[in-house]
Symmetry: C3
Subunit: 276 residues, 3 copies
Amino acid sequence: MSIITLTSDFGNKDYAVAAVKARLFSLKSDLSIVDISHEIAPYQVVEAAFIVNAVYSQFPSKSIHIIGVDAEQGNAQKHLIVQIDDQIFIGADNGFFSLLQSVSPIQKIIEIKHPLSENSIFPMKDVFCEIAVKIAQQVPLEKFGKTIQTVKEWKQINPDLSNSNEIIGHIVYVDRFGNLITDISKTLFQQKVQNKKFEIKASSSKINKVYNKYDDFAVTESSVEIIKNKAGKAMAVFNSLDLLEIALYKSNPLHGGSASILLGLDVGDSIRIICD
Amino acid sequence: MSIITLTSDFGNKDYAVAAVKARLFSLKSDLSIVDISHEIAPYQVVEAAFIVNAVYSQFPSKSIHIIGVDAEQGNAQKHLIVQIDDQIFIGADNGFFSLLQSVSPIQKIIEIKHPLSENSIFPMKDVFCEIAVKIAQQVPLEKFGKTIQTVKEWKQINPDLSNSNEIIGHIVYVDRFGNLITDISKTLFQQKVQNKKFEIKASSSKINKVYNKYDDFAVTESSVEIIKNKAGKAMAVFNSLDLLEIALYKSNPLHGGSASILLGLDVGDSIRIICD
Amino acid sequence: MSIITLTSDFGNKDYAVAAVKARLFSLKSDLSIVDISHEIAPYQVVEAAFIVNAVYSQFPSKSIHIIGVDAEQGNAQKHLIVQIDDQIFIGADNGFFSLLQSVSPIQKIIEIKHPLSENSIFPMKDVFCEIAVKIAQQVPLEKFGKTIQTVKEWKQINPDLSNSNEIIGHIVYVDRFGNLITDISKTLFQQKVQNKKFEIKASSSKINKVYNKYDDFAVTESSVEIIKNKAGKAMAVFNSLDLLEIALYKSNPLHGGSASILLGLDVGDSIRIICD
């Protein structure tokens, strides 16, 4: 059974997501539809790309991913089918695909030729669903339009490595726990820091150790300190995406306690790592 | 595989929606369950009807729609099965069905006779699931109770057309983007306005053009103005439901910018269209 | 088709839930995945147990429930498979299972031996999915580790019955409507109160009757009072879980009106029932 995933900024209350699912099921009854997220901030293509990047490669090969963020055609913004890592993406050429490209090279780009592309106010339903279902039915990608060579580039800020003893990274996502996910990968960190002493400066917080899971913070510190006292303390971890993350241990942002709130940091803010 | 959709005001955190799905799967293992929305405001039958109206006809014929908003029986409020457009709805006779009727005539109304209807505090689970699954198994609707002729009427406010050069419409829904969806259809608008000049008055905002998609607002205006300057400006559009909608171009209500917030308008407020 | 349910504190925006589903579908394509809730408050094992307790027994026998709350292994916290009521649970030994046990005795406990258990920062994806899918493929539970006898106990507060004419219960959950669900079961209430007069004291509110559904509050009162006047009044009901619940009739917490807000009560606060 083909998997079609959905990502959008429509939220989970309105009718839009149900309209997309109704359209898909009216075209093909045996589908596994998986919601990646519909809580993308309105028009935030970068946020959508971060979330989709975090999961797409874990889906079975040839899964079809529909992206309904900033999806209208117009003003030179095309509708595309893009194949990466043997996964199929359908969405608008708004920069999203260049952010996926940063992980793995694009295998194929098709500029969609569809009668409703130009004038639809809701292309996720009117255009992308039909194409997704046809792809699930083994229609070759080339049937949907001409092959092109490039996608629109989104200027992405990368970690600044110009200083030999320093990484200046950035917060790229704040999760439900208020933890701060940065663009500093474990690989980059280890290349730069090696066996040297280091200090991570995140706002007022200074951190000298990076853990591999949250509970290691509580367990590996001296037994003098009671584990419970660790709750709410800032720590650094390589998270499940192998990205450096600044967290508060067992914090609950619903009650005001989170790395984002207590350190006053949000997406786009910088994090410095200084080594000897 | 039969499609059963769910609409409720239970939210996505509590146990209620999972209890309904557990009940459905315990009765029949091969079902496609589609959540329309569980974020309906508590007891807001009109909001539920707006959202269900927006999507139901796009589902495959004979889909079964369970409505779990204000669903208790009692005080002369019955449980009904209603067939419209070859779609099947199961819910309480609280006015919801009269709001669906406004789109298309009702084909059949069955007053449910079920041992748990009268006393259940959770009829969506205790009554509607069982009936939905039996309908999916081809049990005729007439087996569930007697045919009746009318549903409870909800007094609906319609656009006021009493003045020959004016439409007084109303905001019927505010979506995740804070856009204001009105009860003025494209058809009604075109009949009344024809080729005349018009002005849409929405609070302090005056609008003289209605676009067919959001991006047309940015593209079709004079090239003197930079497109980016359009962000946050009020515009009018015929949306995917063919209803007149007042929007802010690429607004983000999460940061305070939305048509609803900036114009100070909400559901029930009026919008005037004056033509020469 | 095997049912796998998911419960977590990951929320519905982030990538984590989609990562779990991607992993499941990459291991087995024909699965019915049901989200119980992903809006558990961060690390709130007791809240997770309340919600899972409310629904698990309604799923088909042999359903598999993955619990992704406070799930890291470490600090003597093991990963377990627990069988109760012929339902299978997979999660961390953080007290959650002892709260399930309060409803029904545990049939089997397996301490999971998995190469990724000890070091994974995301065991719901890295460990539990693989085990869930193998259980769905009929692998016996004993293949995943050794049988043990006990789970970690969570000290649970129970209703205080030490005074012969009194029940001191507690609020255990506040639902989307702001209704206050207590730990006083219908059975306990009836045993203690019998035919005596009683008064339920919830903050400033005094209630002398418990209804069996919400609408009975409006219907069974004297006809002198208009039903509409009941909206927003405090009432008591035995809810669908057969627990005593303090509610405001047809309240809407989105507009500030709920039992929780107006009575100033939240999880952990006590409710007293005094009988003659």
